[in-house]
Amino acid sequence: MIFLELFYTFFKIGLFTFGGGYAMIPLIQSEVMEKSWATSEELINFIAVAESTPGPFAINIATYVGAEQGYEFWGIAGRFLGSACATIGVVLPSFIIILIVARFYLKFKNNKYIAGAMSGLRPAAIALIMSAVVSMSLSVFFPQGISLDAFVSYDFITSVIIFAIMLTLILCVKKIHPIALVGLSATLGIAAGYAEKLFV
């Protein structure tokens, strides 16, 4: 049953993600792509959509994947049910755990074992996002796989240029809004696309 599977999958994603937001990408990649609920390209597109809409990334992606899968199964009613199952699934672990923590606030606050486990989890989250960057880069820069031709293709060169501009902006301008970056890279993408049609 797709609705139970959506709930269960996003429950797992909610339970095993520390640090929030982008730390979820690796787990979402492995769970969602393995079930072929979305391709790598669709996921990366959706990160941009989630960046440009309000609310936590995890909720946005759960709602979206749930809606798409539910629709294939049950039409419009499935769309709502699917997004509800996935969203409740991703929220529930945090909700339950925080309720417990809030009850035993003082004990939790000074617990050395939790601090110890966290000292291992933080670097792991960093490493997992690094591996997500690697796999995302492969799918963005080499959608047809790595070959000598890929390095001189128009798409590769324009993607690398856009990426370089964005990275420079992010590193040099401190308070640049993510939506501004999404908007700028969209504009550059459109310009590059039509320039190819006109000149190449």
Partner: protein, 187 residues
Amino acid sequence: MKFSKFKLCLQLFCSFFKIGLFTFGGGMAMIPFIQRETVEKHSWIEEGDILEILAISESTPGPIAINTATFIGYQKAGVFGSAAATFGVVLPSFVIISVISLFLKQFMDIQAVKYAFAGIRAGVIALVIKALIKLFKGCKKNLISYIIIALAFITAVLGVNVIIIIVCAGVIGLASLLISKKEGEKK
């Protein structure tokens, strides 16, 4: 339920609805809004508590926004309060994405949009790298951290299950704490 408690739950819902509606990018971008709503406007919590609540949100699984909403809601009005606050912070995203998902696929078929997303995909990688740098700055820089980063990265690239990697990293962190404690006692 008493009327005053019901009113408090309603206020929690409205405040966290606003927080959910006006924060883009989630996570840390929410802090100024949470501060304004919960400290300045309603004085539900004190200024200093924000940092502690954030630390707890970060050391428990799940999105920071959900964790913070559940925690503050519970402290103010028990389980009902936490449910009201959490529902409030989730609802805006849920509604907006539900609407967007209706026409996102058709929207993606437009040629100009395809070009736009080709550019956006390259930009997104830069955004993720930015988040990565931020996380790295907040991480303790010692030998064990670097070893965990290296091991977790290699195993993740090789395709080991993400959940296994996370559990192992937690165990290594815990073990390193216990070992360093024992050595401290010996001295």
